[in-house]
């Protein structure tokens, strides 16, 4: 607590000295201790999942993966210890939730590896553990380096530039790679290793937050009223049109509907929160739906996705070799096979569905853990997103609020797009399920989001309302 006085002095809006009352309300060690207990529970759940996978799928225990998992847990506790020093007021739920989701994902990827006969350093599960380690180290670095999120505000336009570059990278000849039709990877040699678009979503969130805080007056105050809504001036439409064009470019050139929807949805929500103008949302949704409809008519892959969504069980769609509904239907069969309580770890057949460890990991988990497991996982996401929104509600500065909401919403939207696609709420698009799905870039991006949300929540609690009200 020694540095509290020093930090509060940085806060632009806080006024008045901290009171004795505040000192007693703020009990940061209590938060960290709570986090510690939750982390222990999370690690027990993860260890149990790995052991149950081994017993269910192999009938014996293999210590190698348990040891790797233990190493990963040690890193998570490293992050926890780092927070005891540099973010002691941070939210106690975010880290345990991310840990449990990450661990369940590894257990399921491992389970698919066993079914496919993969093991050792070539297997997806070991790679996922390594990437998780890198991601957690990245999170520790983030929370150590960024002591105050307002630093990011300074780099608003640099973030925007980084986002654009990251998005364009896969289109650069030589390093861009195409995987199952979508050109969203970069790699060296034949191996596609990284999806820069995943990192771009953080840069975009930072850019949107900074840009909107700077320009929201012109975006929200002027314009003319039509049908009871104030619509913006034509010349203020620029940013919206730029982001829309960017999303459409992702759809056309990278053939990635999900990512486009993710970026555009993120932008619209942040724009709405910043400007309070529903008209932006109406305009944006119309633009995107219009663009998507045109794409569904002109681009085969988008058209296929819509057709699969509407009628997956028709024999023509099921038997179509490329772009048919085989995967979607197998995912539904898998979920149905799981029923209410699931088949149990290692007892189902998630390996029948194509890419059961990445895009379809939620169907794999639904098959073996059942509806109960899906509900638990979704509830964890709800809690995670709610903690993020909480930063938005309690935040003191508009940049922090917007960034917190943006980062939390991007997780919610990503879960909705991929799980909604698997469960036929919306057409299926390829996206990773945050923390669960196999994929290094996604892990790094989402763990950095965890670090940023932790940093934001720490700042929020460092400037409690009581101080201002007092």
């Amino acid at each position: 607590m020694t540095d509290r006085t020093g930090r509060t002095s940085e806060a632009p809006r806080s006024s008045g000295p901290p009171t004795a009352t505040v000192r007693r309300i703020r009990l940061p060690q209590k938060l960290r201790n709570m986090e510690l207990w939750l982390l222990i529970v999370a690690c027990i759940i993860n260890a149990a999942a790995i052991l149950l996978v081994q017993l269910g799928a192999m009938g014996r225990i293999d210590t190698q993966l348990v040891l790797l998992g233990a190493g990963l847990s040690a890193l998570v506790f490293g992050l926890h210890i780092a927070m005891r020093f540099v973010a002691r007021d941070a939210d106690p739920f975010l880290l345990p939730i991310a840990t449990v989701l990450n661990g369940l994902g590894i257990a399921m990827i491992y389970r698919i590896d066993i079914a496919d006969g993969e093991s050792g350093w070539e297997s997806a599960s070991v790679r996922q553990i390594v990437w998780s380690a890198i991601a957690i180290v990245a999170a520790i670095a983030t929370i150590l380096l960024i002591r105050n999120h307002r630093v990011l505000f300074r780099y608003t336009y640099l973030s925007g530039l980084i986002a654009i570059v990251l998005l364009l990278l896969p289109l650069v000849p030589g390093i861009g790679r195409e995987v199952s039709g979508a050109r969203v990877w970069i790699g060296i040699g034949d191996i596609a290793t990284f999806q820069p678009g995943e990192i771009a979503k953080i840069a975009l969130a930072v850019f949107f937050a900074g840009y909107l805080v700077r320009n929201r007056d012109s975006l929200s105050m002027v314009g003319r009223t039509f049908l009871g809504m104030r619509f913006p001036r034509a010349r203020d439409l620029g940013p919206l049109l730029v982001v829309w064009a960017l999303s459409m470019a992702v759809i056309v050139f990278q053939r990635d509907l999900g990512t486009a929807l993710l970026y555009f949805g993120l932008f619209l929500v942040m724009l709405y929160v910043a400007t309070s103008r529903l008209s932006w949302v109406v305009l944006g949704v119309s633009l995107f739906v219009g663009g998507a409809l045109i794409a569904s008519q002109t681009l085969d892959y988008v058209g296929n996705r819509f057709a699969n969504w509407l009628d997956p069980f028709s024999p023509e769609r099921f038997d179509q070799e490329f772009g048919g509904s085989y995967q979607l239907v197998q995912g539904l069969f898998g979920l149905a096979n799981g029923g209410l309580i699931g088949t149990g770890w290692g007892q189902g057949r998630p390996d029948i569905t194509p890419v059961p460890q990445s895009d379809y990991i939620i169907a794999s988990l639904g098959e073996e853990l059942g509806l109960a497991g899906i509900f638990a996982i979704l509830a964890l996401y709800v809690l995670f997103v709610a903690r993020g929104f909480r930063i938005g509600f309690a935040g003191q500065d508009d940049f922090g609020k917007l960034l917190g909401v943006g980062l939390a919403f991007v997780i919610a939207l990503q879960v909705f797009i991929v799980v909604g696609g698997v469960t036929r709420v919306i057409p299926l698009t390829g996206l990773t399920t945050p923390f669960l799905a196999a994929g290094g870039s996604s892990l790094v991006a989402n763990w950095v989001i965890v670090a940023l949300l932790l940093r934001l929540s720490d700042t929020v609690r460092n400037h409690p309302r009581l101080v201002i009200d007092g």
Binding site: V273, F318, R349, L371, I374, F389, V405, V415, V419
Partner: protein
Amino acid sequence: MNRELKRVTIVALLMFLALFVSATVIQYVQADALASDPRNSRTLYESYSVERGPILVGGDPIASSQPSDDDYKFQRVYSNGPLYAPVTGYIPVNGEATGLEQSVNSYLSGQSSSQFFDQLNRLISGQDPMGASVEVAIDPVAQQAAWDALGDYTGAVIVTEPSTGRILAMVTKPTYDPNALAVHNGAEVQATYEGLLADPSDPLFNRATGGDMNPPGSTFKLVVTAAALESGQYTPQSTFPNPASLTLPGTDAVVRNSGGGTCGGGAEVTLADALRLSCNIPMAELGMELGDAAIREQAEKFGFNTEFEIPTVTEPSTYPRVLDEAQTGLTAFGQGDVRATPMQMAMVSAAIANGGIVMNPNLVDAITAPDFSPLQEFEPAEFGRAISEETANTMVQMMVNGVENGAASNARIDGVSVAGKTGTAENGEDDPYTLWFTGFAPADNPQYAITVLVEDGGGLGQEGYGNLIAAPIAKQVLEAVLNT
């Protein structure tokens, strides 16, 4: 800003709510419908992950599940596959099961409602789920004897127990090896199946209970005789004109007796002699006097035009619906459009042996849970009374005469009184005959009813006849079972 935040929060919650609802719809509401989609390979693998119960003959398995290392945890093995193929059928990884594998599948796979609590117990106690075992009525001695006796002929042999309807032997030839259709390679199964399907000898037919059915020929005279005696207007001593040929009314069709001449000597012939010597002309005359309605009624009392579940569903033997006089005359000696399976003709013989009562044919004795508790016992069930006991006794004597000094002489067994009736049915103008024998033994205390069917004239074209080829097969089988 917080007002907007609240709205965004609501939107996010609605998005998650949609996911909760959609997951519930798929995993709970639609789960059963999705599981029963024929394209759902998980359901198939699931059905193989349960150790399917065995099918037993005299306590020995003729179909059993052995542990397997592939996607399907168990391999179905048919010991003595070709011999028991018409009983077991097969269960392929793709396509539909047949035989008992299909008809008692819910028991074998452990999915029947009576096994629900048993499976729940096994689940709770950590045991792997297991299907029930099915004990069939087949007598392995009778089955093997029938297989041996039928030799290389195309046809079928069925042996039943007249008092119960239990099927003691069911052999059909040519046949197939169900093991070849139980391999775990769908493409291989498909290729084997298509090969069998294209085989002109139709090995997939169960000729005992179906297939391309044959006219019963003279064996059907038993039904017509029964109808006559039941009408009360005829006795075995009733007489009929005895010409050497008969032109059916309103047609050019000429009926002849099998010998070509008259039926025995004399201007008139008795019903008893007509049946004993298996003459066509007196039977045609009798049939036309009785009319098609009376014959049809009698045939249906024996089980014609009825589908039986043994529990595998059998094809109904047919006596046609509407006939003119000439057609009725033809059916009276088992020609025209009347068609019968060996099982149906065995039911006719068995009913005569059983004092007139037709028993439902049945292949299964008992179904037993893995913990040896009985799930279902099959009690003998009456189909109904076809003829009076008096008519039955009369007909037993007529059939014994047919074997002892009539047209079915080759079924004679020293020291045992055999009752029987042969048949030699015409198909097309130049097509080979279909040869029959149906009967039972011992006549004074019937234990076994047997029907033999030999298609393609037994390789002799139009030279073969029932007493030459079918009767000796019946004799050989009866000797084997009576000596045990």
